[in-house]
């Protein structure tokens, strides 16, 4: 498949936003249970704001993928059958949930607003945050399933697609949360850094699992089934056009072979190895700068990862477009 940067930015940016919100909310839950020092509203408000910026940026990027962005509202209608339609509904729901969560912290609203007195300082935000957590995980599911549900794109049609989208989003979000905590909540840096390492290494395991799986895939379609002629030797002589078409542009990555072969090593180093080394260094001291460098490195790596994710998928229609002549 041809990797479109609009979709690469959409999936990576909303991954960061989702992961960041989940990190912030996890911190709040731990704080409520006295497992970690509770933080001021300021940390949660800033964290939510930052998560919103990433999610909205992802949403904006997605519009560049559409031929008719002005009709995008229609895409919420087919949620019964289409994972893309479900994502279109869940993404604004996540943005709305995080916006409300941030506002509740900003205004210091509590459940006493509705006449309940729980004695907790952040009872309302805890409830709203749990709803936000639910839709955030739903969004990971929807985004992953958009790709995993196309059964003949065998590189994508696997639960590993959803798992990788989730873990890589979480890793980048927790890493950004660690950087944010280095300024606003130094007591949480250690917590976020440890979780970033755990999630990043889990992501490394599942991403390698999917690389290994994809390397062993045997294509189910071949020229014999594509044109229905049972013969061992079939070659295309002409694809019916000389200058290319949508079929030759959309379904081939078009990058040089050396680039395609090496990009997976690039993203494995940038997404997993470099950030883990950098944040291990930051563990002792709450080094803001080193965490930001680790985050930016990982994000660049994620762009390469997503590029490879698309480029690696080999569409069966490519069988029909092998030779110009």
């Amino acid at each position: 498949m041809h990797p479109a940067f609009s979709v690469i930015f959409l999936t990576t940016l909303i991954g960061v936003g989702q992961g960041l919100f989940l990190a912030i909310y996890t911190g709040e839950v731990y704080g409520t249970l006295d497992l970690l020092p509770a933080q001021s509203h300021n940390f949660y408000v800033t964290g939510s704001m930052l998560a919103l910026i990433f999610l909205v940026a992802g949403l904006v990027a997605s519009f560049f993928h559409l031929g008719h962005p002005e009709r995008a509202w229609r895409s919420a209608s087919q949620w019964r059958t289409s994972w893309l339609s479900r994502e279109v509904i869940v993404l604004p729901a996540v943005i709305g949930a995080i916006l409300v969560y941030g506002l509740v912290h900003l205004l210091g609203l509590k459940l006493t607003l509705f006449g309940f007195n729980t004695g907790l300082d952040n009872d309302l935000s805890l409830i709203l945050g749990s709803g936000g957590t639910l839709v955030t995980f739903l969004l990971f599911l929807c985004t992953g399933m958009i790709y995993a549900c196309i059964k003949f794109l065998k590189e994508w049609a696997s639960p590993l697609t959803v798992i990788n989208y989730t873990l890589l989003g979480l890793a980048s979000g927790f890493l950004l949360a660690a950087a944010l905590a280095a300024i606003l909540a130094p007591a949480l840096v250690q917590f976020y850094v440890v979780w970033t390492i755990i999630i990043t290494i889990s992501g490394l395991v599942t991403r390698i699992a999917s690389l290994v799986r994809n390397a062993r895939l045997k294509p189910q379609s071949n020229l014999k089934t594509a044109i229905g002629i049972r013969h061992g030797k079939i070659q295309q002589r002409s694809q019916g056009q000389m200058g290319g078409s949508f079929n030759t542009r959309e379904f081939f990555h078009g990058a040089p072979d050396w680039f395609f072969r090496n990009i997976k090593w690039v993203f494995l180093v940038l997404v997993f190895v470099v950030p883990v080394i950098l944040i291990s260094l930051a563990m002792g001291n709450s080094g803001f700068l080193i965490l930001v460098v680790a985050f930016v490195t990982q994000y660049i790596g994620l762009i390469a990862e997503r590029w490879f994710f698309f480029a690696q998928a080999n569409h069966p229609q490519n069988l029909y477009y092998q030779t110009v002549g």
Partner: protein, 243 residues
């Protein structure tokens, strides 16, 4: 429910591209507006087509066969491109099984083209909507046309009648008979899409003639002795009643 479809005879197709050009001509002149056609006589010509004729070489030289293979939307009975559409622009008609795109609802996200294993959908780079074969839905029901012309443009254009059009759910239709009797098959059956369009395979047509069939063995006049062989300009025995 009926299911309109094309049956394409690979034994007969000569690869002349008449179906491609007549399809483009008909569909670029329709109410949906022109199909893109960029730099048709320049470098890197490109555009949107509903139908392509591809050519494959089967076997090893010198024992090869050239197979011309016209490819358009197969109007699957279980079309994978329809459920993935987020707007409902892609749909399959209940009444005749044609898979269509509502160009006024399509947002041009290209997701349906990813979900089609045959590469049958092509985006229109100018209108920014997904387009595909409509089985000439704007012509096959047109009461202003003589009944013989209420067929897709490609079918009418084919000089060798390699393209048949009809209802594959009607066992007595010309397409059902062709599929049944000539070994019609579907493309990429492994994905369970059940394409409505079928292809008829290459087949060898030979007649078996034995020596005794070259010489007339029967004796319709019941006469003894050798029958008289008529001269070349005389009527033959078969025409005996016309004497």
């Amino acid at each position: 429910m009926s299911q309109l479809a094309l049956v394409i005879d690979l034994n007969v197709c000569v690869g002349c591209h008449a179906c491609v050009t007549s399809c483009k001509e008909w569909n670029t002149s329709g109410v949906a507006g022109a199909l893109s056609d960029d730099r048709p006589y320049g470098e890197q010509p490109t555009g949107t087509f509903f139908n392509r004729v591809q050519t494959f070489e089967v076997g090893e030289y010198p024992n090869t066969e050239t197979v011309h293979f016209p490819k358009s939307c197969l109007h699957c009975e279980d079309p994978p491109c329809v459920p993935v559409c987020p707007t409902g622009a892609s749909y399959k008609r209940e009444e005749d099984g044609i898979v269509l795109v509502d160009y006024d609802k399509c947002i041009g996200c290209k997701y349906c083209s990813w979900a089609c294993p045959y590469g049958a959908r092509e985006i229109d780079e100018h209108q920014k909507v997904m387009k595909k074969c409509t089985l000439c839905v704007d012509r096959i029901y047109d009461q202003n046309l003589p009944e013989a012309e209420r067929k897709p443009a490609c079918v009418l254009a084919c000089p060798t009648s390699a393209r048949l059009f009809g209802d594959v759910h009607d066992p007595e239709s010309v397409v059902s008979k062709a599929i049944r009797e000539e070994g019609g098959y579907q493309l990429m059956p492994e994905w369970g899409t059940q394409p409505a369009n079928h292809y008829l395979p290459r087949r060898k047509t030979r007649i078996q003639i034995h020596m005794d069939e070259l010489v007339r063995a029967d004796n319709p006049l019941k006469k003894e002795g050798p029958t008289v062989k008529p001269g070349l300009d005389e009527p033959s025995l078969d025409d005996v009643t016309s004497w």
